[in-house]
Symmetry: D3
Subunit: 273 residues, 6 copies
């Protein structure tokens, strides 16, 4: 079997697959450019537009979103114009929520020196920003695009928040890397989460798609690093503190404090070897 | 001691080091461009080429790989033409395996809505894609380049799969961040792995380079989030399910189910303070 | 309420906020470009400059740093010229330390095949590189910029080292993803850290900003994957080995070996269901 | 006098000038990007958009124009929304005129092999395209931008058509370089012009700004290469042919044929030296 | 008539036209990138490739040309593989001719200080380079692409040489702007041409496409600035010198010297007004 | 003879030539980037820098020039540091001259509506800008770079001013395309030149390199379009007006007015055919 035979066969296969699947997804490059423009508009980190340019930048961003949606949703019957109008109508609210998030991070994190530092440098804040934008699109019934946005933020920050999760305001993530927040998670006001926390499902199976599989976290809860909380019926009662490296699959009462009681064996290395 | 003295001394040092080391590595920028082009060719997420352009794009990709290999391996005695031909001859097989991987993810993950969504947005799928390409290069005896590719995917997704690992088809990664799969790991068919799983070595020492140091995972195994499995003699028997946050350094029988039995201490916060 | 009312209100809000906050931060794009140029200068992975160009490249990099600092620190009273001169005077020392780091990684990691491979492909080495540069800026009293640099490296590698941490030479990170090293951590010579390790605070509260909240790790310590060590008074004595998935909030003596003693429950899946 | 004194003085001067003049001009980079997008939309030479994308591309182009105009005309009292609407309402007519221009070039030029070749490769056609767009903006009362567009086309093609000139349809330019068509020129239907032709003013003085200073060329006229026709009262009657290298400052009747009668002296080089 | 009616009508028109015409032309962007790469390969003005990279760069350039040709000529029956092979087989000859051209320019132009300066800075030399490449493609029967290349050079330099012209070696152009050399021109060895020279047709009409319409210039002729020579039967005999601003439509004998005998009227400005 | 033989032979030839010639020229890409930065600094057409950034931008531009000069002049013995200091010390004077040039264009051209329009859109003004910068470098003894700059401007505007020409202030170019001003030309104050004007040499021969070969134009002269003035002894006396399409090889007295007296033959086309 020679090379060109193989190559031809691959090419035939690709063409068949590409044509069949192509229409159902937006360009990921366009999606990410739109996101970048919008985030820079809300939280400019490179240069400030002229005062008179704000309105035009926003209008252009709106057209870009409309074009992205049209590129793969035109035959879907979704009211794209309505979705876009609703999204931009809601943008002020999202922005105000994000400022509350940033303020809370600055207020709690001893390593933060200003809200500005949080906004320009914290990956956790970037992840929340993309989540709030993707979540709103998701709630408006848009498929695929919210996942492209959230997985882009996931790649950039290590924080994987499914756009369908419900997260109230303010919300704080510190250090971020390795956080997973599943699609049916519900998180109350004023919750703080540290690196490596998973809010996940007890079991993973396709026929659970319509069921609440991820935990509920009530107001004013803190969850320290590397803790795993699983299950759709698991509720972390308000004002609780969950320590680091805890593995929880059951609900805890409000005002609880949960500790890991790992036993360690400590030897002198002479003994150990 | 003034500045220019220091600067001159740094520059002398750099020149000496650079000249000595330079010839042994490919341009990482060229390597990543080649990878991007190839992944876009297999799974186009931005635009579909004209039907007549497929063959030319593939040919160009082939020349790019050949040029990258020539740039640092010419004096090595490796048969570069042969390696390149073999790689592209194998590409159809790799592509078919990747489609099986994507289908499996879609089949198991309740959050996935289509194979397409998996392909365009799942970091886990991207990591598997880069692994299968880098692994083939590695098996053809190519040094350095496979690591550049796999570490690029690692940076982008948080999934660190050494190109020398052996992973059968289909293979599923969900959420991805924090997964480590060591160089001598062997993974069977139809295995699923969640975020934060390590398949690692018990000890790390240079003189172990030639020894199997990482586990074997047999067919149909599921390993939930944050579990650590260590050791070259550790075998996870087929059809087993390893729960989340487990720490395993010994083999388990086929058909086992392994649970973490962490004890937690739960106090009312009044008591706790 | 129609769309343009909402939009106008958002725009007014943005203008007010942006003008108030704008002056206090550098352009993140300029900051990252400067970092990229400097890292490529020290460890060229794409092409080697002409021998006669080294001095000019360095001078240009110096002007770029000076311009970045001027853009947000001019009214601060910081002696920017002095800071820049000191930074470039110290660069040779930083470079020599980084070569020691790279050599150690190559020496210990059985998967590494050369120092060059480490330099061009290891995310852990990249994270250390950015840390050593950001740390020096931080020690010179520069705000914000060091965080932008370290969080950029965090996003790229999953390794979050606060620029204020003190880390001696050589230092080794392997696999990297999910490592967190807090602002007041002190790490001695010849320490090795694996993926998922946290060196963190026991509690997080803003009024602790001036207090040592993160551990001290003495010389020749190895900390394996997913281990969490918390607290400003926690000291890991020299020559100790801390096993994987350990959760430590107390000091250990020099020469200790610490094991995780998790109990697992292992069932046959027939029984389990 | 040392260097920094000079530099400081230059910088003060620049700041004063820039601030005074800045508000009155659009970004030339934005202007040219807008033009490129629009020309690519009308005459795509790189790739064809999806059928469903046409409308969105046009809408985006419209926002871009609006933003450019707002950036320097907001305080002018010009009805920018109205101007933009009128421009895009007229675009179909402009496009149809341009196709007539291209067809005529293909019909007359023996070197052209298809209308397509004319559209993708003829600088003369590009110059006419930019003229028809800039002229429409100019007629809508827009200052500065039309000149930026026409001078950009001038730089690219060597054809300098003032946007205020009136040129009927179809119009043919061949070879193009060195053509100058002044601001008050009037050109009828079906006129052809070759390289190096000037339709200029007899005298140049600022107080002539409001007066017709450039010629009128009636329908069906051909003007061959390097001919100069000057003066606001000069009328080239319909159906005339003006030969190459003619210098004309007076009107000619309809149906005229005008020749250059240069005398040449021809010597044998033996005699000449 | 409202705006969207107009816009819809334009869009329908564009779609109809684009679909009909699209297949017959290459991407001009790809064409120009290919040209830039090839010219940089022959006359590098930015950096020198590694010695081992030359062959790969050339191979890649070859694939790029093949892909461009395939994109619009696949159904044409042209032997694209053969054309590409022939082109690259002839490249050494073209390169040697271009070096002779550059040497001649340096030898004759008192303003040139080295062959290198000619190669990196002379637009005339750039125009000859593109002509020799485009001409070879044209001789191999390739349509459209040679015109895209030559009109790109025309835009960049003001020198318009039709790719079908026949120009022997060496050939010298100085100052360049405004030169037009028609499709059926024949130019001998060692000819020099200055700015504004036209070698054109006496009449322009489509049915002349198959006839020689442009002059023949024999060996060792010099044609000074702004001279126009017209007609397919016009032959400038060898060793002749044609002065500046001459208008010639008839042949001249070998060894002739032709002068312009313009009479000027010179007045004192007092008298003149 | 097969293809690879030919290719190998070309590659050998290129390597030999490139290595021999390479060291003597700067990167044209770097040169043009430096020029663009400097022109944008003097005449910003895209965005205004922060007030505090001016000094840094200028310093960076200075380093860029120094690096370009070092890249090809290091072994030349030229005092590069001195040249760079002198150039930037003179920049304020050059800038003031350029503002006088722009004011004059605005004052004389009835088509200009403001100095700003001239600065952002007139190719003639761009050509003068590049000339004044290149000329200063040339006077400081810098080879090659000034030609790269002036030929870049030539390509962009069709105006070819040799950097060694001496042109006083103010100087006005309108329409520009096709202007040639030779290396030994001397132009006085307040001179205006229109499209297609050549100030050239009577004869072109290498051994004239050291001799004044191009005309002298005294103060307050106007030279209209397409006029050619040749010869190193030709002096256009002050206050003269030279009409369009004149061909002059002798001096004219101050206060002269020179007309073209071309005779035309005008026929009715009936007669003519």
């Amino acid at each position: 079997m020679n090379q060109s035979t193989n190559t031809q066969s691959l090419i035939s296969l690709l063409k068949k697959t590409h044509n069949a699947e192509w229409e159902a997804t937006p360009s990921s490059r366009d999606a990410i450019r739109w996101l970048d423009d919008l985030v820079q508009f809300l939280f400019p980190s490179n240069h400030l537009p002229k005062s008179s340019a704000y309105e035009g930048i926003l209008k252009k961003n709106q057209i870009d979103l409309e074009n992205i949606l049209l590129s793969y949703l035109e035959p879907s019957g979704i009211d794209i114009t309505g979705v876009v109008a609703d999204f931009y109508n809601s943008l002020e609210g999202i922005y105000q929520n994000l400022r509350l998030d940033a303020s809370k991070i600055n207020e709690y994190d001893p390593a933060a020196t200003s809200v500005n530092e949080v906004i320009v440098s914290y990956p956790g804040f970037y992840a929340i920003t993309v989540y709030r934008l993707a979540n709103h699109l998701s709630r408006l019934g848009i498929p695929v695009l919210p996942r492209i946005l959230s997985e882009f933020a996931h790649g950039k920050t290590g924080v994987d928040i499914h756009p369908n999760a419900q997260i109230d305001v303010p919300f704080m993530i510190d250090h971020g890397t390795g956080i997973v927040i599943g699609a049916t998670t519900i998180i109350g006001k004023n919750v703080s989460i540290y690196q490596g926390v998973t809010l996940g499902a007890l079991q993973v199976a396709k026929d659970l798609a319509e069921i609440k599989r991820h935990p509920t976290v009530e107001d004013n809860v803190i969850i320290y690093a590397r803790t795993t909380i699983l299950g759709g019926d698991t509720v972390i009662g308000k004002n609780s503190v969950i320590g680091g490296s805890v593995f929880l699959t059951k609900s805890v009462e409000p005002n609880s404090q949960v500790f890991n009681t790992h036993q360690l064996r400590i030897l002198n290395r002479q003994e150990a070897s």
